[in-house]
Symmetry: C2
Subunit: 191 residues, 2 copies
């Protein structure tokens, strides 16, 4: 944590704010004040808010890759990979990032630049392809039991997790555990 550059501090602060309040829910002041810097310092590193947003999306990709590299590998037993996704989601919510990047962007989706939309899209499709593969192999290996195409099931589960995070904000984080339990049950997992 020590010796973080101003640039890194800005990204960290903005990332936290973004995933708590959405793009329109925070200002440059909310970033600069707690860091003890001036607004213009942010503009120095990120000329406008879209540049900052790009950096946040990159940060999100990076963070996901780091946090998931162990369990997000293709192949092997499917169950721990799914559990890894659940744990990751719980971790994120637990450390003050209640909404995920996709959810935060969905509200302001109309005024996003094309390259940001593309980055977001590719993020979704990467996640989707990974989960589809996990479900497919899980079904082949008799770990999971479900009807319908694996891809469709993957979309449904991602949507469920997305919605679960939203509901957790309004209700409590317990709801996440409960919903994950139901997803397991629906996949025919005993415990």
């Amino acid at each position: 944590m020590q010796a973080a550059t101003t640039r890194e501090q800005i990204i960290n602060q903005a990332f936290q704010l973004m995933l708590q309040r959405g793009l329109n829910g925070f200002s440059y002041r909310d970033i600069s004040e707690p860091l003890g810097i001036k607004n213009a310092a942010i503009h120095y590193h990120f000329p406008n808010k879209m540049d900052l947003l790009s950096a946040l999306i990159a940060e999100n990709h990076q963070l996901l890759r780091e946090s998931t590299s162990e369990f997000m590998a293709y192949g092997g037993p499917a169950r721990p990979q799914l559990e890894g996704l659940f744990d990751y989601t719980l971790d994120q919510c637990g450390c003050g990032r209640p909404i995920c990047m996709v959810g935060a962007l969905a509200v302001d989706y109309k005024d996003l630049s094309d390259n940001i939309k593309r980055a977001n899209d590719s993020f979704i499709h990467d996640s989707l392809n990974w989960l589809t593969k996990v479900l497919e192999t899980g079904r082949e290996q008799d770990e999971f039991h479900f009807e319908g195409p694996a891809k469709r099931k993957a979309v449904a589960i991602l949507a469920t997790i997305q919605g679960a995070r939203q509901m957790a904000r309004v209700e409590s984080m317990d709801i996440l555990t409960s919903i994950f339990a139901q997803i397991r049950t629906d996949l025919g997992i005993s415990s």
Copy 2:
């Protein structure tokens, strides 16, 4: 549509904006300009934005009650009630209301007044209780087949629908149909 009062026009316009862009995503100007009135006219009917928001939440309750009175009755066959919920969701998304009120409020949840939080909470719990009942009776009547407590399943399904709407904004509305199909499949419904 004819002879709508200014107050009604304001609510309609604001409702649409709210469910497209979220609370912080629109301004008084976005309401007044298309209606050909002045900002102060809005302040006359709704002194501040929270008053307007209260009216929008009431509108949302009202609309839901109207649109769902036929299928949201307790008792009777469960399947059409569930289908009613799916149709309602599709309708709302189809007529330019991509995010639901709960989703729109979730982002700005922190700066809502207590009575608005309460109104939102009670809305969620009403929906939840209704769906729980539908699932319970559906299971008793052998229409639905699922494991786990009905309430937990209801939470999971509502979360799925919530997330589905969010994903539909980014992807396309087809994803809704697909996710609903998977929910049916997971409930052991043939077609």
